[in-house]
Amino acid sequence: MSPSRTDLPLLWTLRALAALAGAITLLIVAFLILEAWPALQTPGLSHFLTDASWFPASTTPQFNLIPMVAGTLAATLGAMLLATPLGIAAALFSRFYAPPAIASWFRRLLELLAGIPSVVYGFWGLVVLTPLIRQWAPPGQSLLAAILILSLMILPTIALLSETALRSIPRAYLQGAAALGLSRWATIRGVALPAAHCGIMSSILLAAGRAIGETMAVLMVAGNIVKVPDSLFAPVRTLTANIALELGYALDGHRAALFVSGLILLALIVLLVSMSDWIMRDDPGTAPEALTQAQVPQHG
């Protein structure tokens, strides 16, 4: 069933929609470069990597962004390490372990968690979480606090989207596993996870993007000190928090420097996406066939 002539308008409409969706990114990138341009000319990109520290509004401005890049990477990586197993476990629980009634409640709960505003997470982190960490290792507002809050925020994304992927495994696979007398865990490990791994991977990537981009909650719990973190308990500043903290108060060169933070953030994401693109492509995987492959040739 390749699209017949009557289907062409539909196909072109879909293409137009997709092109529009894809173009938004280009528009944002172009806009970021435009705003960052003055800072890229003077002081120039090298200052963002080699200056002693970050004092963009000083009389002798310094623009080192490396500590913020390190902060963003550390917080994101930590949160991924924590949230990925928990999120997948939550998805597996809801799909394979929980009785239907509980599973449905559990899903509802995850959706609610996804909808709590980041201010509320940040608020809770600042009032409840950081004092707990402070008793252990002051000052409390730290990389660890950022990792914990971020994990909490991206967990629902991983869990809900993974669950969608798990639910979409053809029933025959699971019936086959049952017929072979596989235990529940063996079924999950041998059949369900491999069959759904594409969807799960994409949920993890989406969550990683969210973790890199999260602003308000991190700003409230991370301490925001511009320094490469030397321990879990050290306060850190992420690129996003840097933008949010200073943008409303920045003029001219300082403002352009903040847009360079935005560009670097975007570069990190492009790197992440390229990496995942590469991983996913090399993997023969189980990319499901789609309409075009299921076609019955009509035109000979």
Binding site: P56, S58, R134, Q141, N224, P235, L251
Partner: protein, 284 residues
């Protein structure tokens, strides 16, 4: 084409009329003849106050609309320059390179040093504060407190409270060794209230209000003068700042509506609102 021309002419006539009207003496303004829309953007410190003033202004001047947007002092300056906003809100004095704007003070605010309520030290000298913020003193024990590391809370770059603080203590931001950097006042209050070893500085009205309702902070006196709104009002408290509205160009270049709003915002008719937002009104 023809219709467009007519419209254009009508528009011109209308504009001329507007100009003519605004050239008239402002007697009719108070009777509600002012109409139109004003947009204000800028300082998040000033925005809640102006929001309340705007509501009362709209009530007393039917036919006007005043939209208040927040974002930061520099945004107020930038938007007023670009014309995105009719009036900018700025919580500091204007810089030397901002003389293309006219600033109108509408209220006063002060900055107070705060510590946790359980901190045994009754007062800190200015030298001690400088020593703490520059990292020469890192433990409360060294200045007679408990044996605990000091959590130094500083404000993020660009905030006018930071500039005021640095200016008063003659410090450079590069010299400060902070443990935590915060954005807004309430974040500072919460950080200090949650940490018995913390020291920070916030807007004075916020500090006295929070202390009075039982939040675990206390404001320190500065140079022997108690940190209170009363002392900001009588001018004796050293760390105070004006809150400004700014317009592009000279005062005459502002629209009649903008001028009338600015006058209203600095008048005694709204001093109860100013006090309700924990600032000090100028008229007394």
């Amino acid at each position: 084409m023809c219709r467009a021309r007519i419209r254009l002419n009508a528009l011109c006539a209308f504009l001329l009329l507007m100009v003519a009207c605004s050239g008239e003496p402002q007697q009719s303004a108070d009777t509600g003849a002012l109409t139109g829309q004003l947009t204000l953007t800028g300082s998040s410190t000033v925005a809640p106050l102006i929001g309340e003033i705007a509501k009362r202004f709209e009530q007393t001047h039917p036919g006007t609309r005043v939209d208040v947007q927040t974002g930061g002092s520099s945004r107020g300056v930038a938007d007023a320059r670009r014309g995105t906003a009719d009036i900018g809100m700025v919580s500091r004095a204007l810089n030397a390179d901002e003389n293309d704007l006219t600033a109108y003070p509408i209220a006063l605010d002060g900055v107070a040093m705060i510590v946790h309520r359980d901190n045994p030290l009754p007062v800190l000298s200015e030298e001690q504060i400088v020593a703490i913020y520059t990292g020469q003193v890192t433990n409360w024990r060294e200045i007679g407190g408990a044996d605990a590391p000091i959590t130094v809370v500083n404000k993020a770059e660009g905030r006018s409270t930071l500039e005021l603080f640095l200016g008063y203590f003659k410090l450079r931001n590069e010299d400060i060794k902070p443990s935590i950097i915060i954005g807004d006042n309430q974040q500072g209050i919460r950080t200090v209230a949650a940490d018995p070893n913390a020291i920070g500085y916030v807007s004075i009205g916020t500090a006295t209000y929070e202390a009075s309702r039982g939040t675990a902070i206390k404001a320190l006196s500065m140079g022997g003068i108690e940190a209170s709104l009363e002392n900001v009002r009588n001018g004796s408290f050293p760390l105070s700042r004006p809150l400004h509205l700014v317009t592009l160009g000279s005062a005459e270049q502002a629209s009649a509506l903008a001028r009338s709003f600015i006058e209203y915002a600095a008048s005694a008719a709204v001093s109860d609102l100013t006090e309700a937002q924990y600032f000090v009104p100028l008229t007394h």
